[in-house]
């Protein structure tokens, strides 16, 4: 069963996104198929150059860029949300697939979850 974890909150202001990533990486660690879908302001997790040291948090940019190595099948991002937040080939981290129809994507997964 393929799981889709959805992230819709911007990074660092709350812990939801981070705990969503933990869910995805745990599934991958147990060899369960999992993908991540970023929608709304959640797409900002995928922007290059995050430096949260000044707010005493760790960057997850490197973890996300290495998601496929850890066994996460795909990083999906809503094209419209990327456009809205000025995200393109030049400033997105590697390995992101932009999708035009998030509703259709949602239909493809038996198990869809948010972290909170």
């Amino acid at each position: 069963m393929h799981t889709l974890i959805v992230i819709d909150q911007p990074p660092y202001g709350s812990w939801g996104g981070r705990e969503s990533l933990d869910m995805a990486f745990s599934l991958a660690a147990f060899d369960q198929p999992v993908s991540l879908l970023f929608i709304d302001a959640g797409v900002l997790w995928l922007k290059q150059g995050q430096e949260p040291g000044g707010i005493n948090q760790k960057s997850v940019e490197r973890n996300l860029a290495a998601a496929s190595i850890f066994g996460v099948e795909s990083l999906l991002a809503d094209t419209a949300a990327c456009h809205r937040f000025g995200l393109n080939e030049d400033n997105l981290i590697n390995g992101v697939t932009r999708i035009d129809n998030t509703g259709a994507t949602l239909q493809q997964y038996q198990h869809v979850a948010f972290s909170g």
């Binding site: 799981t3 812990w15 705990e19 599934l27 979850a113 948010f114 909170g116």
Partner: protein, 141 residues
């Protein structure tokens, strides 16, 4: 046990006295057992781990959600697990974590346990069966 018996895993991510998640989840859990279904596990994640604290003392005319859940779990022998990563960050610890991190106290209510996300992963694997469901109870604002 009825022929259409299903197995549910409930995941609670909202805290009591901050969200309605523990209330909605308990109503659902009671109804599931009434209908002859099984709850294999309750998993507390994120702010939901606060439900497993032994220390809340709400005003006497308000319900104590830890106690209400604790009574339900013990009466029906349903296991409940708080995610260890969420729990340690939010100050929910059992005696063994208290010793390991040299903390001044422990505050995990009976019969809750602390364990890793692997318990949740296990439930999602089981839920690929047609007769299983993982249901999430999030906070609302």
């Amino acid at each position: 046990m009825p022929a259409d018996n299903h197995t549910f895993t409930l995941v609670i991510t909202g805290a009591p006295y901050s969200s309605q998640a523990p209330e909605t989840a308990l109503g659902f859990a009671q109804a599931a057992l009434r209908a002859g279904h099984t709850i294999d596990r309750v998993f507390l994640y994120g702010d939901g781990v606060h439900l497993a604290s032994s220390l809340p003392s709400p005003p006497s005319d308000e319900i104590n959600w830890t106690r209400a859940w604790s009574d339900f779990l013990q009466e029906h022998s349903v296991p409940a697990v708080a995610c260890i990563a969420s729990a340690l960050r939010r100050g929910l610890v059992n005696e063994s974590e208290q010793r390991r991190y040299q903390l001044p106290a422990s505050n995990l209510a009976t019969p809750f346990e602390i364990a890793g996300l692997g318990e949740w992963v296990e439930s999602t694997i089981k839920s690929s069966a047609q007769s299983s469901r993982v249901i999430y109870f999030h906070g609302g604002a």
